[in-house]
């Protein structure tokens, strides 16, 4: 199977002995087969003598995976967790949202038992978080326990866009009242 050939699902494109199975492929009986329609591409992998073989297709279905950085809108807050609607995964907007949850212990890295959800997030905030697990049957579990994670966009009680002051405070530009949030550090 030469490179840059267009293949359909099920076509054999290589063998496990000579290549590593990558995106768009699967293995069966020691053979690597395509699982989507697209072009065959082989790439070098550092520290491995085998090349990785992938099938490049026109469309990648984006689903939150463990470790993905996501943007989510806070929908509801309780004392234990904040429920969010995951709207973007790795910079790509999703057509239909997934439900996510940020639990009290995943809001920040230090003093996790003293976290007050209402002082970290409010409904309507846009939060950058990382997916830490597939969670329970209803929502993914997310975490904002890193400096660059947290609220990236929030609205004050007066309806203005909040301006970050420190990692835990944001200020309303109109009333100059400060509100507590777990703020994402933007570089």
């Amino acid at each position: 199977m030469s490179e840059s050939d267009v293949v359909t699902p099920g076509t054999r494109i290589g063998s496990v002995d000579t290549h590593i199975s990558g995106r768009g492929t699967y293995t069966r009986d020691g053979r690597i087969c395509a699982s989507v329609v697209g072009r065959v591409v082989t790439k070098d992998v550092p520290n491995q003598d085998k090349k990785i073989i992938e099938v490049e297709s026109k469309q990648e279905t984006t689903v939150p995976q463990i470790g993905s950085i996501v943007l989510a809108t806070v929908v509801k807050t309780t004392t234990q967790f904040a429920k969010v609607d995951i709207t973007c995964v790795e910079g790509k907007a999703l057509e239909t949202t997934f439900m996510g949850m940020i639990r009290q212990q995943d809001v920040r890295a230090t003093e996790i038992d003293k976290v007050v959800i209402y002082e970290s997030f409010r409904p309507g905030d846009v939060v950058r978080a990382v997916v830490i697990s597939l969670g329970d049957s209803k929502s993914y579990y997310l975490s904002t326990a890193r400096n660059e994670l947290g609220v990236v966009f929030g609205t004050s009680m007066a309806g203005q866009t909040l301006v970050p002051v420190s990692w835990k405070e944001m200020e309303c530009p109109k009333t100059h009242l400060r509100e507590l949030r777990k703020v994402a550090k933007t570089i």
Binding site: L71, T73, T87, K92, A93, T96, V152, F153, V163, T186
Partner: protein
């Protein structure tokens, strides 16, 4: 503090803000002017299993209408009139927001009532033309609309598909014998239906206090109110439908009525062309 992200992401997170960047310039994200409806494509008669059919596309919204004719006994109160039974369905395949058949029951019912009101109350079709034999046999037309793609303004697409389908219905010639059995005349002629008038709709919405013509589904969701005006090819106002929503001024309504009226000729022409192409 601004959210640094691609246009897609902003569109998803803050759709109203996204629109506010376009509307003051007088255009919408899909490139249209605020008062421009989407390109309308009408095709007729492509379904061989139906007596009449039509497919209407308004941009990414498409509706297909199939009409099947059956013979039935007329109602006692109207022994010379045929019947028209309408049903509109938004199947789950038309939109990511409709995930089960039950999700669209409200919309289906609303569209059915709206369209039926226009067809029957403005007398689009002479139901007497569907009579086969006084008091014993009449045609009943089952008009079924399926919205195949929902990107806003399903009503316009649905009504136009019904009208076009009605204009290309071909009823076979039938005869009734002494035992009241109706049979098709072999090699008989076909009967077409004449519409008394063509009620042509146009839907509008108000988004951020600006008037938009022919809204997409994203615009419908963000709007403060949506309404429809229907004028026929004789310049008569057939329907005004504003089901709640935010208040609007009289002058906006007048503007919309004029816009709808100006469009009727173009649409009727498209419908006639579709039928010609079928022949």
């Amino acid at each position: 503090m601004k959210l640094e992200a691609s246009a897609d992401v902003i569109r998803k997170l803050h759709p109203l803000e996204f629109y506010k960047r376009f509307l003051p310039e007088g255009i919408r994200p899909d490139g249209r002017n605020l008062n421009k409806p989407r390109v309308t494509v009408i095709s007729a008669g492509s379904l061989t299993t139906a007596e009449g059919s039509a497919l209407v596309k308004l941009g990414s919204t498409s509706a297909i209408c199939g009409i099947k004719a059956e013979v039935t006994i007329p109602a006692d109160t109207e022994p010379q009139c045929g019947k028209l039974v309408l049903s509109v369905e938004l199947p789950p395949l038309c939109s990511p927001n409709i995930q089960r058949w039950t999700d669209s029951v409200e919309q289906n019912s609303s569209l059915e009532v709206q369209i039926e009101d226009i067809l029957l109350k403005t007398n689009v079709l002479n139901l007497e033309a569907l009579c086969i034999k006084d008091s014993s046999a009449v045609w009943v037309l089952y008009v079924d609309v399926y919205i195949l793609e929902h990107d806003g303004n399903c009503f316009d697409a649905a009504l136009l598909s019904v009208l076009t389908a009605l204009t290309n219905v071909k009823l076979p010639e039938v005869e009734v014998n002494e035992e009241q059995i109706v049979s098709i005349v072999e090699g008989g002629s076909t009967q077409s239906l004449e519409l008394n008038h063509y009620p042509i709709p146009l839907s509008f919405c108000i988004l951020d206090d600006k008037l938009l013509v022919d809204p997409t589904s994203e615009e419908e969701e963000l709007s403060s109110t949506c309404f429809t005006i229907v004028y026929n090819n004789r310049g008569e106002l057939c329907s005004l439908y504003k089901p709640g929503g935010k208040h609007i001024n009289d002058d906006i309504l007048e503007e919309c009525k004029q816009t709808t009226l100006n469009r009727t000729e173009h649409i009727v022409k498209l419908m006639k062309q579709a039928n010609e192409a079928k022949k």
